[in-house]
């Protein structure tokens, strides 16, 4: 399936950006010292020779901190998505396979969870367990499993009465085997697409929380709390507002672009 030229450019740009960000994230330990070093003689410098993207109110290199933010925001989001996929797949698969009461219970649980505005729920739990890198990852993960659960449940339900499953049962296979070997692998496609889109959602939530001061706490950099620094220097240091925001925007855009590609690849036809 050929992609049009502009679609291909978009996809390549997205991949390139994500590779860049990923590299910055992985290599963070190597230059973290640079990101933490404060230069009180060069506070709030505009982008230029000493600091490529400028410095913040404590004289720290913004570019280095953005790299740190990449490491933080990406790792939190990846962990969050992993949690939500694991929880969602497990619950959805079980409900789909068992059916009956288990299924009704899960559907009820999903419906109840969906009644809460996601951000409200997350904020409430953060209020209780406290902010921080780990907590944020877990809380986001535990509040976004519903989509995956529904998907997996639907897949499992539609597949469980197919012949190859019945044949497997006749041969004595138990529930776990059937799930792991036959049903879940078929659901992997939609799960993958869901995870990718969940990733961009997680990044937006984590950066949002950090921006509000309820996520990753300074001095650990997150694109969100870097933006919050931007707010306190509004009108003084435009680079503090522009670059962290661009980082978030480009990353989320790239992830969404790849997600769309995957989705249309899955459906076998082109989206607009």
């Amino acid at each position: 399936m050929k992609l049009s030229k502009e679609n291909r450019i978009g996809r390549n740009l997205a991949l390139a950006w994500l590779l860049l960000v990923g590299a910055a994230a992985i290599l963070w330990p190597l230059y973290s010292a640079k990101g933490q070093a404060m230069h009180f003689d060069r506070v709030l410098h505009a982008p230029g020779s000493s600091f490529l993207l400028g410095s913040d109110a404590l004289g720290r290199d913004l570019l280095a901190r953005l790299g740190g933010g990449a490491a933080v925001s990406l790792s939190v989001s990846v962990v969050a998505v992993l949690i939500s996929v694991l929880v969602g797949s497990w619950l959805g698969a079980w409900a789909g396979l068992k059916g009956g009461l288990w299924d009704r219970a899960l559907s009820m649980l999903i419906d109840i969870f969906l009644c809460f505005p996601v951000f409200f729920l997350i904020l409430a739990v953060i209020a209780i367990v406290g902010p921080g890198l780990f907590n944020v990852a877990v809380v986001i993960g535990l509040t976004s499993w519903m989509g995956t659960a529904r998907l997996v449940r639907a897949e499992v339900m539609s597949l469980k009465s197919r012949e190859f499953v019945l044949a497997s049962r006749v041969l004595g296979a138990g529930d776990g085997w059937i799930l792991g070997r036959h049903l879940l692998p078929n659901a992997l496609g939609p799960i993958a697409v869901n995870s990718v889109l969940g990733l961009s959602h997680a990044i937006l939530i984590e950066t949002g929380l950090s921006f509000l001061g309820l996520g990753v706490q300074p001095p650990t950099p997150s694109w969100g709390n870097l933006l919050s620094d931007g707010k306190s220097t509004l009108g003084l240091a435009w680079w503090m507002t522009l670059f962290p925001g661009l980082a978030i925007f480009f990353t989320v855009l790239s992830v969404n672009t790849l997600g769309e590609r995957m989705m249309s690849g899955l459906k076998g036809r082109r989206t607009t």
Binding site: F113, F116, A124, A127, F249, V252, N256
Partner: protein
């Protein structure tokens, strides 16, 4: 028909109970008891004070009992008093609610007024410049962090150009303004927050209407309408658009949770005294009664939105309306 509506309402009751249960569960996840936390704000609270608080809030009773007590208070709409200033929680929420609801209703109105024509135009001129730009823009807007958009606009329009105010609902001398001046002042202050609040709605509605319209235009009844010799305008509005807009009703009802979540951000950034900012402040100060009440009310509002989406659809689509009655 009315019976069907009430049946729908009744099915919401178990959800409501579930919501109360989750709310209760969440708050009691607190590592310490609520009394500790309240006392925690005052490090010099003595053991006696803690004991008194524990008794006052009934925290020494078994959890199940606490839950039932809380349900009882909920039924009376008693959310307790704030830890921060002792004000009745419901009063605090009540003064903040109209502002949030007002802004979000306006945002939805903007989404419809701008999004629908944009979507229709895009559908009619599919693949051409406007459509391609709109689609691209919608996709990008979906990836934009709203807090960043707010900051950019604030620094550009508020600080650099000094065109719009960046915080609060009123100017300092608001009370002394005449009625017309008051309204103008309010509008001026609401411009930026409203823009930030409406942006996701506008892009979502336009994209949705575009797709829905393209689908409607490919339907057989549109061919029939053309074959009857109706003007293209009549075909578009009386036939295609009417059908294309049906699911927009549901879209609106289901947007409640997203709007509430978004309110937290733009109200905090622009210092608007609404529910979002109230929630944020209460989270920051660990004001548990308010947090709990907001969580509950947020869920109830979402539930109402879902219910409205349901009946809204039945109101506009005769197939659903009759399906409901027959059952």
């Amino acid at each position: 028909m009315i019976k069907a509506l009430f049946r729908r309402l009744a099915s919401l009751v178990p959800l409501l109970l579930g919501i109360t249960f989750i709310c209760f569960l969440i708050v009691h996840l607190a590592p310490g008891s609520a009394a500790d936390l309240k006392a925690g704000l005052n490090p010099r609270a003595s053991l006696e004070a803690r004991a008194r608080l524990t008794q006052l809030y009934g925290l020494d009773k078994p959890l199940a009992q606490q839950y039932v007590d809380w349900l009882g208070r909920l039924a009376k709409w008693d959310f307790g008093t704030s830890f921060v200033d002792g004000q009745k929680v419901w009063d605090k929420i009540l003064s903040a609610m109209p502002i949030t609801i007002g802004i979000n209703v306006l945002a939805l109105a903007a989404a419809l007024l701008l999004g629908i024509p944009a979507g229709v135009y895009g559908a009619l001129h599919r693949g051409k410049t406007f459509d391609r730009w709109m689609t691209g823009f919608s996709f990008a807007a979906f990836s934009l962090p709203s807090f960043w958009v707010a900051l950019i606009l604030m620094s550009f329009l508020g600080v650099w150009l000094r065109l719009l105010p960046v915080s609060g609902l009123h100017s300092v001398f608001y009370e002394e303004f005449g009625a017309f001046h008051k309204i103008a002042d309010l509008a001026w202050h609401l411009a930026l927050p409203l823009f930030v609040a409406s942006l996701p709605g506008i892009t979502m509605v336009s994209r949705f209407v575009r797709d829905s319209m393209i689908d409607a235009l490919s339907q057989n009844y549109v061919r029939t309408a053309r074959a009857k010799g109706l003007t293209e305008r009549a075909v578009l509005y009386d036939h295609a658009l009417k059908n294309a807009l049906l699911p927009v009703v549901t879209l609106l009802g289901l947007s409640v949770p997203g709007l509430l979540g978004g309110s937290v951000i733009f109200e905090t950034i622009f210092s608007i005294p609404g529910m979002g900012r109230l929630f944020f402040n209460s989270v920051f100060s660990r004001d548990y009664p308010v947090i709990l009440a907001m969580l509950f009310i947020g869920a109830v509002l979402t539930l109402i939105g879902n219910w409205l989406a349901d009946i809204g659809y039945a109101v506009v689509d005769p197939r659903i309306r009759q399906g409901m009655v027959k059952r």
